[in-house]
Symmetry: C2
Subunit: 457 residues, 2 copies
Amino acid sequence: MQEIRKYVSDNKQRFLDELFELLRFPSVSADPKFKEDVIKTAEFVAEKLKAAGAEKVEICPTAGYPIVYAEKIIDKSLPTVLVYGHYDVQPPDPLDLWKTPPFEPTIRDEKIYARGSCDDKGQFYMHVKAFELMMETNTLPCNIKFMIEGEEEVGSANLGIFVGENKERLKADVVLISDTSMISLEHPSLETGLRGLSYVEVEVTGPNRDLHSGVYGGAVANPATILAKLIASMHDENNHITIPGFYKDVAELSAQEREDLNKAPYDEAEYKKDLEVDELWGEKEYSTLERTGTRPTLEVNGIWGGYIGEGAKTVLPSKAYAKISMRLVPNQNSDEITKLFQDHFEKIAPKSVKVKVSPHHGGEPVVTPTDSVAYKAAQKAILQSFGKEPIPTRGGGSIPIVALFEKELGIKTVLMGFGLDSDNLHSPNEKFDIANFYKGIETIPLFHKYFAELSKS
Amino acid sequence: MQEIRKYVSDNKQRFLDELFELLRFPSVSADPKFKEDVIKTAEFVAEKLKAAGAEKVEICPTAGYPIVYAEKIIDKSLPTVLVYGHYDVQPPDPLDLWKTPPFEPTIRDEKIYARGSCDDKGQFYMHVKAFELMMETNTLPCNIKFMIEGEEEVGSANLGIFVGENKERLKADVVLISDTSMISLEHPSLETGLRGLSYVEVEVTGPNRDLHSGVYGGAVANPATILAKLIASMHDENNHITIPGFYKDVAELSAQEREDLNKAPYDEAEYKKDLEVDELWGEKEYSTLERTGTRPTLEVNGIWGGYIGEGAKTVLPSKAYAKISMRLVPNQNSDEITKLFQDHFEKIAPKSVKVKVSPHHGGEPVVTPTDSVAYKAAQKAILQSFGKEPIPTRGGGSIPIVALFEKELGIKTVLMGFGLDSDNLHSPNEKFDIANFYKGIETIPLFHKYFAELSKS
């Protein structure tokens, strides 16, 4: 522990400088105009892994963005940890809400502000530096493999194929991922589940052209009005989702599970104050922790149609659109839910408009075991570095790949995240606390240590 | 009549060339970035009026865009016609749907395609050329005044003030406006009413920042979803507007009036085919002609919120917006309706969000007399130039200024429009049939002739 802390403090500034370099790449996978930057980012990650002492470093091409693979096999008889992360980031929009430029990392009161600072560059880079630490101090206790992808924010479509084609190379005893959050440094926690995702885009077409709302208004269906009605109908008065069959596979938690889940520290007044909302919203008869962790949702991620420029334009639009995503919980199936949405949306649309539903991407929900050697190793590592037992929580986000690892490689995952819910993931002013960054680099070697030890016994 | 036709055919090409010059100015009053172009347009209009023989031509400054005034007083004892028009145009968005550039007029099968070709540059310019014709042929039978404004598409706020301050200068016996449509060249018509307008913009605010839809989704009100619910609730299952008191002042038509109104040629199959919709939409128990001409409406002109860029972004937006306009009929009052909307919208908004309603602009509905000397003059002029009695119709559009003229100047208006409903006003590919342009120039001098004659008797 002494040794670890010394190495981290001796290299504090360099670790930060390197992370800043990484954060300066606008690796937005959703927007084709950043293609070159995304690829440069992959090259940067490969370099740093090599520099840290990794072998067989390879930038593996895919139909989309490349996957960076690297490994260090010290002894085939020792257990192997597969570290997963992603070097792509969410679009920075809306740009005007950023206090400082999204791709020019800036420190304000001990926090690193930049797109990707937490999700996931700051977090996967902790593993690169922890690996360097173990190599430099000759304390790497097990074999390690890295798989850092560039399409997590757009559904990891090609990673699935890559995993299917590289089962041998990816063989490992556990997948270790830092792409989730903990409650706080005072309340370290480990996520034991993730929601799945089904993301669709809908298009509603009324008349074949924009019309004068005076000449035609009142006689022709307005696609924006119809879209509003369709969206409005998807939650009932208790905020239950109304798509037939939507809940049929949802695994209801036992009274005990619900009780345990609700033990996690949660201050509703604080929560509302942080978001500046007077009242929370959600599915009746469930707590906030249940709503975000264990219940499926349907959210409008974007909506647009008609004239959205300066001033006033009296137009009856021809088309209106919405991006809608559903978060899924065990045992819902992404493709099935997408199909249910599509059928329902097409069914409820009135004859006065035409609708089109285009699936974007999806991912399956997962629950990670809390009785595994790997989970125990994570518990011990956090106990030692934080001085506190981690609290098990359910994450509301999605990392589609986790379910895929289980299916394709038969490997369970440990979600050891060091971010905070307040890090503004996917929002303007995303940040990552410097303290969490260093704490992660300090905790990760302990995980490998205990994972190797506990695997022996 | 011979003389008129000869002058028009002798100057056909020049009339068209001048109109094209006028159409090339992108005089979009709603968007500040076109400010200079709008002002250049006013200067062009003033020049052309002077060249045609007008006197006291003046570009009158206002708090917004200037008003072009001109007159020709030949004999104080003769009646005076005040011609109103507007040189500003609607924004051309969405640009990608234009077959040819909106500000580069193009002729396709005898139609002039350009923003403003019909609304209202093409139409008010007929009056400038008809005036030139009467001057050149010494046939101007009465006094004439021109008032061409540059803010009609944004509510004519400053024209109201101008009119109030220039009652003496604007004295006239009738206001003549060509800013409406007729059924067709085969079915000439005269609009005898216009709808009023109440235009608002609404903002719905949920959390104080965009959120990760996985981390917070299901626990915090999504402003896009709430906005959809609010909009959806504003029409009931019969497409009646649900704002309390919205219909209380609506003048119901008599059975006779409804019957007359529905005599106008209308082919539902054609109407649907032209718009490519399988089914029409509207207030139950009213015909299309009634819905667009005599009933108030509420239309979403634009809606936006969240991520509307390429690909997928799993965000729970902080804000969602909509531009909503209501068309009003006698005897609704614009300010009152705006207030009703505002109160209702704020009242039905749930506590989980904050809402703001900002009025854009409005205008009062009008009905023009069909028993006046001026209306009879218009009927005779059309009968002579088209060979057919004009059919009286109710227009669905709004020209806020018409009600104001009545109130401030005590002058009634004649709406002698030569456009067609199919001219794509406010839409991409706005057009004006060349035939209608020339027909208007030919008909207008006849109006002046008969108006002067009938005024004597």
